[in-house]
Symmetry: C2
Subunit: 390 residues, 2 copies
């Protein structure tokens, strides 16, 4: 007898095999009826969209999706890779914000940006907590020595302060970031666009082994999946969504890092860019992001990165200006946040953002003011009304 939990897991793997991760229609159906029922309907041809039916039929003709999933889960277990699904406590909840991602650009890659259905994970640490205080450092494969030096230094400093460094495992900036974090004895997570059992590129094999020992190797794609070209772009949305902020160190014009940044900006997450010489082709993309996006932030050091991603003003270096007469002088955003706070107990910034209709970054900024104004207090990971203020 298979448990509902097991059915859900098998279904999520099967669905990720039938359709690339992020597929809008599939994800929407999973939200509505669950993964197991979605798989049943798709395999039974019980969906109105004939294109979905045709796609499933074609793919299932190659290999039976359910059998594929069961085999992959077995193989994963043998290879030390576990499957993480939304019901698991280690699910990295930030990725679910992809559900509200709106990109103005067109094309399949920019439409199919829904949250992942599951993650394959190698490494001992629970995925969610590892991602909670994390910064992505990404950039060009054909990086210069300047770029790899900066990426590595920045990753070292962030890891030393207990932040997880997330990257894509590629040559150049990605590898330098992973190495910097490892050198600090810190945690690093490599988010791949292929199966976690054979990380790509092969040239970074020794690096991946070290990451798996102390950090995590993560992928949406099942064991055995090939690193197809378009998968890197699909993967980039996860790097953007799973982390507290993303730093681009070097990027050529219109590169993958630029695409990652468009997702970071669309998610209202801190989008940070390291500038470089204007004479370097590897900094053209960085400067273009800074010129084109008023919300992209130039950063030159790990400290400046922490100013952007630090919670509740933890790393804020500017003197916050609180309202003079506390509650009477509140701005609209702060008032919305106070309204969203429960009368009893605490709320996380993410919950407040959802309830107040604001982005998380705004909520975090406002909360630090509200805290200084004496209206809210921190409670565990969240905030609550100060008893004497309401």
């Amino acid at each position: 007898m298979t448990s509902p939990d097991q059915l859900d897991r098998v279904a999520r793997v099967a669905l990720t095999w039938l359709f690339e991760p992020g597929h809008r229609a599939v994800w929407t159906l999973v939200q509505e009826v669950g993964a197991a029922e979605t798989l049943d309907r798709l395999l039974g041809g019980d969906v109105p969209d004939h294109r979905l039916r045709a796609a499933v039929a074609a793919r299932n003709a190659i290999t039976d999706a359910r059998r594929f999933a069961e085999t992959a889960l077995d193989r994963g277990e043998r290879l030390g890779a576990r499957l993480v699904v939304p019901a698991d406590s280690e699910w990295p909840v930030r990725v679910d914000e992809l559900a509200r991602l709106r990109l103005s650009t067109t094309g399949r890659i920019n439409q199919d940006t829904r949250p992942p259905l599951c993650f394959w994970v190698r490494g001992a640490h629970p995925l969610g907590p590892a991602m909670d205080r994390s910064v992505a450092i990404v950039g060009a494969r054909a990086a210069t020595s300047y770029g790899t030096h900066v990426a590595s230094d920045m990753a070292y400093a962030l890891a030393e302060k207990g932040w997880t460094v997330v990257s894509g495992g590629a040559f150049g900036i990605d590898a330098a970031a992973h190495r910097g974090a490892l050198a600090a004895g810190g945690r690093t997570v490599s988010v791949l666009a292929c199966g976690v059992e054979r990380p790509y590129p092969q040239g970074n094999a020794a690096l991946f082994e070290r990451i798996a020992e102390t950090g995590l190797i993560v992928s949406e794609w099942p064991i055995g999946a090939e690193p197809l070209r378009h998968r890197f772009l699909v993967r980039n949305r996860v790097i953007a969504a799973a982390t507290a902020g993303t730093v681009v160190v070097e990027a050529a014009a219109r590169s993958g890092a630029t695409q990652t940044m468009s997702r970071v900006l669309a998610l209202s997450r801190p989008a940070m860019v390291v500038p470089g010489p204007v004479t370097s082709a590897m900094s053209v993309g960085c400067h273009a992001i800074l010129r084109g996006n008023p919300y992209a932030r130039l950063v030159t050091s790990a400290d400046e990165v922490l100013e952007e991603v630090g919670r509740l003003g933890e790393y804020l270096t500017e003197p916050p200006r609180g309202p003079d007469h506390a509650r009477d002088a509140l701005d609209e955003e702060s008032a919305l946040i106070l309204e969203a706070l429960p009368r009893r107990g605490a709320s996380s910034p993410e919950e407040l953002a959802a309830a107040a209709g604001l982005d998380v970054r705004t909520v975090l900024r406002r909360l630090s003011y509200l805290e200084l104004a004496g209206l809210v207090v921190r409670k565990g990971d969240g905030v609550a009304f100060r008893l004497d203020s309401c």
Copy 2:
């Protein structure tokens, strides 16, 4: 018999000798009663402020101010240096916007930022027209080869397109900018903090000679004035105010270039910054400006500089979006500008800015939209209503 014009000239030179340029009280008095009467009153002790009286007495005791001025004008004539005053047609009118400069920082240097009383000029070209289409390129003396390369390249490209390159004649970035413009056979203006007859630093003597031949050497200080340390900071306000925009190429933290940029920003002029490696101490000031000022603009090429300073959308690369139904759908700023336009004849953007209570940059942007919307047409250096639109 001395003409009123001659009395005004002598008085302005004498006043600049008695008080450093930019002096708030002196400039205000000159606006009220004229330069000759201001000098009479100051020398006669006929001013209420006892500190002004004491300063004049002390200075006049060293040398008689009027005699000093007459001698300086004679010497200037012999040395090929002419005096330019606001009544002259070649007065660079943009500097008068210093009258409305408000700086939040304190200290004498930041208070005494009034417009110049006069300019000493070496070089054949009229000063005003040379400054009309001009860009300042300034930066560190201890520049790196990267910085001098970028400054020189940018100056070359700007000069080639008919723009005057303005700088301060210092070693490093300033000299590279002057040289780049000269290499293009273009015009360059060196704004000094000492007498124009012996430009400082001496090590750039050959460069200054070449500038004087095809461009201009300019100073507020009379013939014989020493390049005292604080004068460079006083001079910087002129570089900021006389040009259509300023580019900082390399700057150490809290350097003179940073101070110049604070004036550029306070004047609402395009404040442009070239980034560099975050590992370079000579780019620390540049990145600090970009991080600290939302209106500072990262630029990587002469084309991007021209986008910022180009008039009436001449160099605008973004597609301008005009109102759909022309006059009916005007935004508030455009409406103010149309109201400020005279029923007959043309107005310059500067006149429109003053009349509409907007900054010149906003006016220039709006005018390009109004022109595309078919509501205004260019006429000489200004704009006028299109006949069939009103």
